[in-house]
């Protein structure tokens, strides 16, 4: 469509991102001031807890991003993958007594199969669905999962044993439970894995190409059908593992998926929908901001403030803080 500009040198897209990053920086600075204004140890505690929850949001947000970038679909049932993951983990580990590592793998596997089969059975046959159709179908799916979970596991809040002990250790006056380390570690592991997948493997590279231009991807030999299936599989696996590793800290019940999903989506949008590094950054920042808000405001309003922030960001920068502006048609 476009021709190369001749002669005049003009600001490139990079500057837009730099501008966005500076907003990010300013916000971070503001947060640091707030945390410093609070007692030092409290402030550090906020950041640590914020990063813990934020990592979970980041994992879920990556799920949203992967599906969106390869298929332009938003999966409103993403949070339910996490819920199912946690629930299954509880069943295998606490109830059936299967050792944690095996339970973990088993739970993730089952949720992944559920996610993949949903893509094959429902999303794939739709061909080119409209936004409203997809939103409604995936919302229907999330309600269905939630209701089934309520049926099977009841309404109780279930606790999962932490992976290694519960004795918190202290860093600079703040306390950190070992589970947080697991969470940081796993998130890092997942991010690296995703990076390798999208930069080294053929399918991954094809999916990145597909996000830019579906036809180009077909030329490399990666069909939109494969892309969609792989995206859903990855998203389900990410969601399930997020739900499992957070469960020892936040517990799990049939309705945790709603909030996890919403926050994950919010993070994905904050970071720029369809831009995976943005999803990670969005998740971490949402986690920290939210924890600080919960410390400053009455805790009941925590989620309300989080959504307010999200809506304001949407209105100011609809393409997300790190997202690129999409061209008209």
């Amino acid at each position: 469509m476009l021709s190369l500009e001749k002669g005049v040198r003009l600001p490139v897209r990079l500057s837009e991102r730099r501008y966005a990053l500076s907003i990010f920086g300013a916000c971070a600075f503001l947060l640091i001031i707030i945390t410093l204004a609070a007692k030092k140890s409290t402030g550090f505690q906020w950041i640590l807890s914020g990063l813990t929850v934020g990592s979970i949001y980041a994992l879920i947000a990556m799920g949203f991003s992967v599906i969106f970038s390869s298929t332009r679909v938003i999966n409103f049932a993403q949070g339910e993958f996490s819920m199912l993951g946690g629930m299954l983990m509880y069943t295998f580990n606490n109830y059936a007594g299967i050792p944690a590592p095996y339970s973990f793998i088993l739970s993730v596997l089952i949720v992944t199969i559920i996610g993949a089969s949903f893509e094959r059975l429902i999303i794939h046959p739709l061909k080119k669905p409209g936004v409203i159709t997809v939103v409604l179908i995936t919302i229907g799916l999330s309600i269905f999962f939630r209701a089934v979970a309520k049926w099977i596991w009841g309404t109780d809040t279930l606790a999962i044993r932490p992976f290694s002990g519960e004795k918190p250790f202290r860093i600079f006056g703040a306390s950190l439970v070992p589970q947080s380390l697991w969470i940081f570690g796993f998130t890092l592991f997942a991010v690296i894995l995703m990076f390798i997948f999208f930069n080294r493997s053929l399918v991954g590279k094809g999916m990145r190409a597909a996000a830019e231009n579906p036809e180009a991807a077909s030329l490399i030999g990666v069909s939109p059908s494969t892309t969609s299936l792989v995206a859903w599989t990855i998203a389900a696996a990410l969601g399930a593992s997020a739900g499992i590793i957070i469960a020892p800290i936040k517990f799990v019940s049939f309705d945790v998926g709603v909030m996890l999903g919403l926050k994950g989506f919010a993070s994905a949008i904050l970071g720029g929908l369809g831009y995976a590094p943005g999803a990670v950054l969005g998740g971490l920042s949402l986690g920290v901001v939210e924890t600080i808000i919960a410390g400053v405001f009455p805790s009941g309003y925590k989620d309300a403030v989080a959504f307010l922030v999200l809506i304001v960001v949407l209105l100011l920068r609809p393409q997300g803080i790190l997202g690129r502006q999409e061209r008209l048609e």
Binding site: G140, I143, R146
Partner: protein
């Protein structure tokens, strides 16, 4: 001018049909309490009039939402908030000030809803697709949290009890039977209004921007203005429904305005038929009756498991399944299926009539 009348499929003819169907449909609905009394409650195990009143209340909300989603193509996942604003306006005003007429509460709820949706709608509706879905969902969530946490105003999760019944100029609408004849005329009027609207310059503009915003703008439609108006309209309709909900239940708590209620509205729109005026009413009647019917099944058929009587706890499974099934297999909803069925029945009748007259003709020969 001549082509205007000559044409078989003329808009004018269609219009007449539409109003005929409307008159017929409203009579059918308005007659329900009269014959429903003849069926003894211990046989069907369901209070038909009670459920009908509730579905009429939901209809008000769903008619507005259908205009927004089905015609203008703008999604909202947070309409329960406007339902809540309507309900809480009535609840708060009428319980705090005993002299406050409940009907005025309904109107004030509509006005508050109007103001809030106007302020919020204009910026939010600049967003499209998934972003709009997310923003409206966020609004719904914020509203719900406000209802739950602002205990000074809304009494939080405890809820507001002892809301007086609806009274209009001294007439107390304290029974479901009486309330029915307030709720349904209102719902039908709202429907008539939106029916007129859809067929007008306004409705054409909405449908045009649904199809392509850019093309609509070039055709001269100020899309953001029209989107805002239809959003505000749907919010006001929903608030009216909410106000009626408060005088019907006589009790409100935040749970009645949760995200799942927004989804319930959405399911009603989809099951009835996106972009079909009758769809809103059919959808809300079906979705309101469904849980009652399923809970009553064990009484009707002895072989049905008794556990179904507690089905109320699991209605969500049904909403989820229905959303998926309808979006995939019947995206135009039940109203469309009925329309198709009706017109093919008419065609069948005509064929039989032709056949008979042909036979008669042959006999005479």
């Amino acid at each position: 001018m001549k082509s205007f009348f000559e044409r078989k499929k003329s808009d004018i003819g269609k219009t007449e049909n539409t109003y005929k169907t409307f008159a017929f449909g409203s009579l059918l609905i308005l007659s329900v309490p009269l014959w429903a009394r003849l069926i003894p409650g211990n046989v069907i195990h369901m209070d038909i009039v009670n459920v009908m009143v509730l579905s009429g209340i939901y209809s008000c909300a769903v008619i507005g939402l259908n205009m927004l989603i089905g015609y203008a193509g703008q999604i909202s996942l947070g309409h329960a908030v406007f339902f809540g604003i309507g309900a809480y306006s009535v609840a708060i005003l009428s319980t705090r000030y005993s002299w406050f007429p409940t009907w005025l509460g309904v109107i004030i709820g509509a006005i508050v809803s109007f103001a809030i949706s106007w302020v919020v709608g204009r910026p939010v509706l600049k967003l499209k697709g998934h972003y709009l879905a997310m923003a409206t969902l966020g609004l719904g969530e914020i509203g719900f949290i406000f209802f739950r946490e602002a205990t000074g105003i809304t009494k939080g999760t405890v809820g507001i009890t002892a809301i007086p019944s609806l009274s209009i100029f001294g007439i107390e609408f304290d029974s479901n039977f009486k309330l029915f004849y307030v709720v349904w005329p209102i719902a039908l009027l709202l429907m008539l209004f939106s029916m007129n609207l859809i067929r007008s310059r306004f409705g054409r503009a909405l449908r045009a921007l649904h199809s392509s915003e850019i093309a609509a703008e070039v055709a001269g439609v100020n899309t953001s203005k029209y989107k805002t108006i239809v959003f505000v309209m749907s919010a006001v309709f929903t608030a009216i429904g909410g106000g009626l909900f408060a005088v019907f239940q006589r009790y409100v708590n935040p749970e009645s305005f949760h995200f799942s209620v927004s989804i319930l509205f959405l399911t009603m729109v989809v099951v009835g038929g996106l972009g079909n005026v009758w769809g809103a009413i059919i959808g809300s009647i079906i979705m309101t009756f469904l849980p009652s019917i399923i809970s009553a099944l064990p009484y009707w058929f002895p072989f049905m498991p008794k556990s179904l009587t507690n089905f109320g706890n699991y209605t969500l499974v049904l909403y989820g399944l229905l959303l998926i099934v309808f979006m995939i297999f019947m995206p135009k909803g039940i109203a469309y299926a009925l329309e198709v069925g009706y017109s093919s029945a008419l065609r069948g009748m005509k064929r039989i009539r032709d056949r008979i007259s042909a036979l008669k003709y042959e006999k005479r020969k």
